[in-house]
Amino acid sequence: MQATEKAEARRGREVPLEAAAPKIVLENVGVRYKLLTEDQRTIKGRLLGLVSSASSISGEFWAIRNMNLTIKRGDVLGIIGANGSGKSTLLRVISSIITPSEGRCTVSGRLTPLLELGGAFNVELTGRENTFLLGAIYQKTREEMSELLPRIISFSELGPFFDVPIKTYSAGMVARLAFAIFTQLQPEILVVDEVLSVGDEHFQKKSLMRTKKLIEHGSIVVIVSHNLELIGQFCNRAILLSGGRLAAEGRPGEVVARYRRESL
């Protein structure tokens, strides 16, 4: 146990001693990227970098910095901001894909990041095969997934296409399958990046209903979206990012209004 904790601390995370209510705490989190020019990855680029000082200068920038945020059970947090304001980076820190360059991010609870729908799918495989693949990413066994299968099939409304390779699907079908799987995994923390805006109106409504149900069961939902209407009607809390900093925090209506004023 101790070894795990040390290792987790190295990754900038902490393991809770007991399973508490789902919670995300960011303390002074910063993520620094290197600006890599293409040729710095190659041997030629490296060698040139040694002799000419010009190409060895590599810029750095902070995608997010000084981020302090606590997300608690029942929070439906909307994250808004212009392109490049650090929304996706923040989601990836929360989803444990990126380790912060400074500060600390502590997540307790079973986290199911739903980023860029369908990307985890192998297009050569069928919907059914991909369901098991995706389940495995979230540490579900074959048996557990088999139990969830009927509900996934019915929610996705794919019918006979469920047993056809995904490469034949339309974008909406892929999104439906992904959403059906993700929500059946019963996540305590659902991290969603621009997904509620895909699919037709019928499916969008259904997804909203389903997400609402997850929230009622004590989940945390974190949504990134450019759809301000959706943030306004759906979230109970919102933050505005600007240049990698927390620019505003509060009720969705106020934060959205401020964002609209500033982006004019």
């Binding site: 070894a3 987790e8 990754r11 290197k34 890599l36 894909i97 495989l125 095969e129 098991f132 495995a136």
Partner: protein, 258 residues
């Protein structure tokens, strides 16, 4: 190190699924499907044995068995390390959009190619029987050879997959180096035919003790020397520890370079 091992156990279902997915999609759409795993080495052995025994005027049957006993383990090593070198940069989605232990990917490459190795070794045994070479108790050393070679290969896959993230040229460089390595290994020629002056340099080849375990068992029908086995074991453990350490130390920076 222990914690990443524990995490790997946690994600064993994904490891299994990922291996299965690789196997399923490899030959999907081809008429003969999985049969190609069998056909590929069969065609190579027929072709190369014929050509080389013709050029060198060697006995086709003897040479065929000799060639194949070195070719099967070499091809496993070569294909796996080359696929391994590109496996992290080839799966950016899993590195930047989702969290799964990155260790899974190079290890899955070894497992997928392990299937081919198994098929190749079964063919080798059939070939030995066909050409009338007795399958002796020395074959018992083959599983040991497989284990050590797999460990060695896994270590290098970890090392190379991380290297390629930071230095993209590496996978192309390695592709050419393995081609050179093929000729430096006594696969198309027996070591005895090399002048002693050159031979001492060829003996420095780290892949040699691994190949010898297979060649001794399948071609000469005798157990490998203790020296050969201990050399292979030492190299395998060293490669595994080095690859693991380099990979685990650098995996959190992969994101920045993909």
């Amino acid at each position: 190190m222990l914690s990443s091992l524990r995490e790997l156990v946690q994600y064993r279902e994904f490891l299994a699924q990922f291996i299965l997915q690789q196997l399923k999609t490899r030959y999907r759409g081809s008429v003969l499907g999985f049969l190609w795993t069998l056909l590929n080495p069969l065609l190579v052995i027929l072709l190369l044995s014929f050509v080389f025994s013709y050029i060198n005027n060697w006995d086709l049957r003897t040479f065929g068995l000799y060639f194949f006993s070195g070719y099967v383990p070499f091809m496993f090593f070569s294909t796996a390390t080359n696929a391994g070198a590109g496996v992290i940069v080839g799966n950016p989605f899993y590195m930047t959009r989702i969290y799964v232990p990155r260790l899974i990917f190079p290890l899955a490459v070894v497992a997928v190619n392990g299937i081919d190795l198994g098929v190749g070794l079964a063919l080798l045994m059939v070939l030995a029987l066909l050409v009338g070479s007795p399958v002796t108790a020395a074959w018992a050393s083959v599983p040991v050879g497989v284990l050590l070679l797999a460990l060695f290969t896994a270590g290098l896959c970890l090392l190379f997959s991380a290297t390629t993230v930071f230095l993209r040229d590496f996978q192309y460089l390695w592709g050419n180096l393995t081609f050179l390595l093929f000729f430096l290994c006594p696969i198309l020629y027996p070591m005895e035919r090399i002048p002693p002056g050159v031979r001492q340099y060829l003996r420095l080849n780290p892949l040699l003790p691994f190949l010898q375990i297979f060649q001794e068992a399948a071609f000469y029908g005798r157990l490998p020397s203790a020296q050969t086995v201990s050399q292979a074991a030492l190299l395998a453990v060293a490669a595994a520890l080095l690859g693991w350490a380099v990979f685990v130390r650098n995996e959190r920076r992969f994101y920045l370079y993909l």
